[in-house]
């Protein structure tokens, strides 16, 4: 079924949720108010590990005005349903991380709430915590299970021992990455509303309405029919609203049940940073056998993730990390061990890329190291080893088609003029036009009396430029048999004119806080339209535009007729969570099938009405015809169907692609349905006095099968790239005694508009047969390539080779100091690139590496 030549796919339709967002009318959870609503808050553990002795309530406070819930008051099992039920809703006896919830309180207003939280104190017998992965592995103290290991995976292929024996050289390195905070601009928040049947209606900012639904049913001990979960406009998520909203939803619901009224819980920023999940820190060791010509022949990888105090999604994050450990390269003999361990730190969870960025950072840096040791170019070693059609991953999957590695690499090299820049001394040491311009501008502005000692010195500062590259991939959709397990469903529903209602959030109790009634719905004078009903949410990535585009193309109707309502579990089927770059690629495909189902139902009805055979009815350009006779427009036929035969619904369920197999027992097989590919070239300037790094230009080429909406696709690459550069260059959680020290936006620094480089994005397309109109996964992909390319560019500029991120000026300074030590001890350590390229720039030489 196609749309003739009127192609919606590949057009850059303006986002359907855009108008509401630019006019300030989108309602996020904190914008909603329920009459009589209370406010909820949390009393938390001040220590990383200990045992609760008592919870004291200050008698000076009037406790009758609030409600308090502790572990002793729970109506159901004390567990937040996720992969395992080990995460308590409220700590009962033991506390396992700083800021772990111990009690929750609701009050009629915020002032009283704050006073109540202050009046409640938790007496804890403190025990010494396990705070690092290394201590956890030694299992001197037990955080979780018998051995602190949440999950372990092993992959083995070929004959690694023989591979290492045959190698000309063995190169080893250890790579580390730190926590990353999502810093979605809208903090986590929910509103729980008690229902008259004893159930709960839950509104909130989230990625996975059915995860929240399952967690509420389990934790509240309610049948699932009495729970309704509705997603509200979500102000960014990036994985940070995948597992965590289940915790907050349980808290708000418990309070709402206790208080007998709606309860809103919206995190303040510091509370959000302190208590929500982060990207898993990693330590990854690579040992690789290589031939003199750069061919990789054997690899041993030991991969370790820090899961924090409870399981959350860690085993799945580890699985993706392990399966991405060899990156975009073919290595015949491989042995990988991946483990995720427990520590007394806040549980880590999903974050864009889900373990893959850690693995890609390590393998990309390691390939650079091998290149350096062999004295060959980082580009050449990639060309020699990158995956091609027919190659096999160490877990047994054979790449049959659509391997975009070479395509993205070559285009990124050409577009960015990587080779020319790498070879040009003039480019490397030359003055920077951007900076020069900025300085002149500032000089003009400061013609007054601004003290400008810094400016003066910056005029003579030496700025060094460098360029670095990365090659990466990302498996789209759930890992292994995840898609088969959830067997997602999607629907399209025709809403005739008569049925058009103020859709938004259906809770009768919600006041539209900001929108006068006459402004609520724009253009509602429709002659019927079609809703795409799925549980996948719009969170900024564009699902509300892309899914309707797919449906519009499938039905051959104008996009204006389509909408993607906020998922509401009482109205939408379970099409799975909004994660793993699966919404377009996996759910989009099911939406097409649901459209086919709707057309089939209409054809059957038309055949009956017009006494023709269903096969004779055809849909073209939005009109049905049979045997040359016009039967009416899609909407008129659909309206008649609704009137005479009841709701017109197209439904479909995920169909596993033929020929793919994953065996969880042996951990082998087709781990992902399709891979997307990317290459980043990052150019940096490094101020050699302050060691401040400034990425100035990034070229990103991605192969994603098909861009349904190119402008939105480019936006994903822009945003993901900057997030990756932030992770690689500046974002750092500092921990002391298990406590996050920097819990504010001014101390946990993310890139601002001044830090953002120019990003040139090119999309290339090798259509994936099973994807909707060829599309593969995109959202997470760009997160995998930014950090290694950045660090490689810094090395190119300074000779300082970092194996841990973020590469802050302090870290570079430390590397420089170590480097001079190393130089003293082993004079003449050689880096052919530095020797050839950097001598004229003066300053710095090879600093060696520090695992």
């Amino acid at each position: 079924m196609g749309a003739g030549d009127r192609s919606i796919i590949g057009s850059s339709a303006v986002r359907l949720d855009g108008w509401e967002k630019v006019s300030g009318k989108s309602l996020y959870v904190d914008d909603l108010r329920i009459p009589g609503m209370w406010f909820g808050g949390t009393a938390r553990s001040p220590v990383a590990h200990g045992y609760i002795k008592a919870i004291h309530r200050d008698p000076a406070f009037d406790w009758s005005q609030v409600v308090v819930v502790t572990a002793a008051d729970l109506p159901g099992p004390n567990a937040v349903r996720m992969i395992r039920d080990d995460h308590p809703i409220l700590a009962a006896d033991e506390v396992c991380f700083v800021s772990e919830p111990v009690a929750i309180i609701a009050a009629p207003d915020r002032d009283t709430l704050i006073k109540a939280i202050d009046a409640l104190s938790v007496e804890i017998e403190e025990h010494s915590p396990i705070l690092t992965m290394e201590d956890s592995l030694r299992a001197e103290g037990i955080v979780w299970g018998d051995d602190n290991i949440f999950a372990e995976y092993r992959i083995h292929s070929g004959d690694p021992a023989a591979g290492f024996r045959s190698a000309d050289l063995i190169v080893e390195g250890t790579y580390r990455t730190g926590h990353q905070e999502h810093l979605y601009l809208e903090p986590n928040g929910v509103i729980a509303i008690p229902r008259s049947d004893g159930g709960i209606e839950l509104l909130g900012s989230m990625q996975c309405p059915y995860y929240v639904h399952a967690a509420l049913a389990h934790g509240l001990g309610l049948e699932s029919t009495r729970i309704v979960v509705k997603q509200t406009t979500t102000g960014g998520a990036f994985g940070g609203k995948e597992d965590f909203p289940s915790v907050l939803a349980l808290h708000a619901s418990l309070l709402a049940q206790r208080a007998g009224c709606a309860v809103k819980m919206v995190h303040e920023r510091t509370e959000d940073i302190r208590s929500t999940t982060k990207r898993h820190p990693s330590r990854i060791h690579h040992r690789t056998g290589v031939m003199r010509d750069g061919k990789l022949v054997a690899s041993e990888i030991d991969l370790l993730l820090d899961g924090g105090a409870y399981t959350t999604l860690s085993p799945v994050v580890l699985s993706r990390a392990t399966l991405h450990a060899t990156g975009a390269y073919y290595i015949p003999n491989v042995s990988i061990r991946g483990r995720v361990v427990a520590t007394h730190t806040p549980p880590n969870g999903a974050f864009r890329g889900f373990g893959a960025p850690q693995s890609l950072f390590a393998v990309e840096r390691h390939v650079d190291r091998i290149a350096r040791e062999l004295g060959i170019d980082p580009l050449d070693i990639r060309r020699r080893n990158m995956l091609r059609d027919g190659d096999q991953f160490p877990f047994g999957q054979v790449l049959k088609e659509g391997v975009g590695a070479s395509l993205v690499l070559e285009q990124a090299i050409a577009l960015s003029e990587y080779k020319e820049k790498k070879a040009s001394k003039a480019w490397r040491c030359g003055p920077d036009p951007h900076r020069a311009g900025e300085k002149a501008e500032q000089a003009e502005k400061a013609s007054g009396a601004q003290p400008s000692a810094q400016r003066t010195s910056s005029a003579v500062r030496s700025v060094r430029k460098g360029v670095g590259l990365s090659l990466y991939l990302h498996g789209g959709g759930f890992t292994g048999a995840g898609e088969e397990r959830i067997s997602a469903k999607a629907q399209v529903r025709f809403v005739s004119e008569a049925q058009v209602e103020g859709s938004f959030i259906g809770s009768s109790q919600v006041e539209r806080a900001s929108v006068a009634d006459d402004q609520i719905e724009r253009g509602q004078s429709r002659q019927g339209h079609i809703e795409v009903l799925v549980s996948n949410v719009e969170m900024g990535q564009g699902a509300s535009t892309v899914l309707p585009m797919i449906a519009a193309q499938a039905l051959g109707l104008p996009l204006e007729l389509f909408s993607h309502p906020h998922p509401d579990t009482s109205r939408v089927p379970d099409s799975g969570p909004t994660v793993a770059s699966r919404t377009t690629m996996m759910v989009g495909r099911i939406v097409i099938d649901a459209c086919s189902d709707m057309v089939a139902k209409l054809k059957a009805a038309l055949a009956q009405w017009h006494e023709v055979r269903p096969e004779e009815v055809e849909l073209a350009n939005g009109r049905f015809v049979a045997c040359g006779e016009e039967l009416g427009s899609f909407t008129s036929c659909a309206s008649r169907f609704s009137r005479e035969m009841g709701p017109l619904l197209g439904e479909a369920t995920y169909v596993p692609p033929a020929g793919l197999r994953w065996d969880e027992e042996t951990y082998r097989g087709d781990a992902y349905k399709a891979y997307s590919w990317g290459a980043h070239v990052v150019e940096v300037e490094v101020d050699m006095e302050t060691l401040e790094v400034r990425p100035v230009k990034v070229t990103a080429v991605v192969e994603i099968g098909r861009a349904i909406n190119p402008v939105l696709a480019v936006g994903q690459v822009d945003g993901g790239t900057l997030q990756a550069l932030g992770w690689g260059g500046m974002e750092e959680i500092k921990l002391e005694g298990g406590r996050y020290l920097n819990d504010r936006v001014t101390t946990y620094i993310i890139p601002t508009a001044l830090d953002a480089p120019d990003i040139e994005v090119k999309i290339v397309e090798l259509p994936y047969e099973r994807g909707p109109y060829g599309a593969k996964g995109l959202g997470e992909l760009p997160m995998n390539g930014g950090a290694p390319a950045l660090v490689s560019a810094i090395e190119d500029a300074t000779g300082l080779s970092a194996s841990a991120i973020p590469v802050t000026p302090e870290r570079l300074m430390a590397l420089m100091d170590e480097g001079s030590e190393i130089r003293k001890s082993k004079a003449g350590a050689s880096n052919p690139y530095l020797a050839a390229g950097d001598a004229d720039c003066g300053a710095v030489e090879d600093a060696g590496e520090t695992p």
Binding site: S12, V14, R15, G18, W19, E20, K21, V22, S23, G24, K25, S26, Y28, D30, D31, F39, D109, R110, D111, T112, L183, Y184, L185, E186, P187, T233, T234, G235, G236, A237, E268, R269, E441, R512, A513, S514, A516, D517, D518, R522, M539, G540, G542, V714, G715, G719, G720, T721, L722, Q723, R744, V745, T746, I750, T752, A753, L754, A756, D758, I759
Partner: protein
């Protein structure tokens, strides 16, 4: 839905302050406890929730509004401080309460066309910072744009589309005013 400015707040009882200011072109009067911030006044009392709260301590820019021509973080301004002043919020940007796509401000249009909006949470604040910039400097350079929005965090877009949208809106506004002048001269 009528908005009553004097209803009991979520903040509890206490001494009150009555202020009068111009909000999006209309006179507005409200009585609030003295510790109320402009952000709370707008969101909790006047139901103007277009202005967002991302941190409440002046660090994220989501709450940016224009106060007498300057972009400010409304979470750092006390409601009492705006007495007698002009406040502009995203709701007033298009000059109409429910603008059609055509009636949107050129900045709003450019944000849509250039896809400078993703999750949208930073958008109202971004728009107001951009508006304050263009009001003062109709032809800003890219660096000036970057500086003007450097207090507005965005985690989704990578900023580039936003900078380009502001550039595009600036030239559109300049084109419109050139046409306008031309028309006037003709007349």
């Amino acid at each position: 839905m009528a908005v009553r400015h004097d209803e009991a707040t979520e903040q509890g009882p206490g001494r009150k302050l009555t202020i009068r200011f111009t909000l999006n072109g209309s006179i507005c009067e409200a009585t609030v406890p003295p510790e109320t911030t402009l952000l709370q006044l707008l969101r909790d009392r006047l139901n103007l929730t277009g202005t967002k709260c991302g941190c409440e301590i002046g660090e994220c820019g989501a709450c940016t509004v224009i106060l007498d021509g300057r972009a400010v973080a409304s979470c750092l301004v006390l409601a009492g401080q705006v007495d007698g002043l002009h406040v502009q919020t995203v709701e007033g940007l298009a000059g109409k309460p429910a603008p059609t796509a055509e009636e949107l401000h050129p900045l709003q249009k450019a944000f849509l066309d250039r896809d400078a909006v993703a999750c949208g949470f930073c958008t109202p604040g971004m728009l107001m910072s951009a508006k304050a910039l263009l009001d003062e400097n109709p032809e800003p350079s890219r660096d000036e744009i970057r500086r003007a929005i450097s207090g507005n965090l965005c985690r989704c877009t990578g900023y580039i589309p936003i900078v380009e949208a502001i550039e595009r809106a600036a030239s559109e506004i300049n084109r419109q005013s050139a046409c306008h002048e031309h028309d006037e001269r003709e007349a």
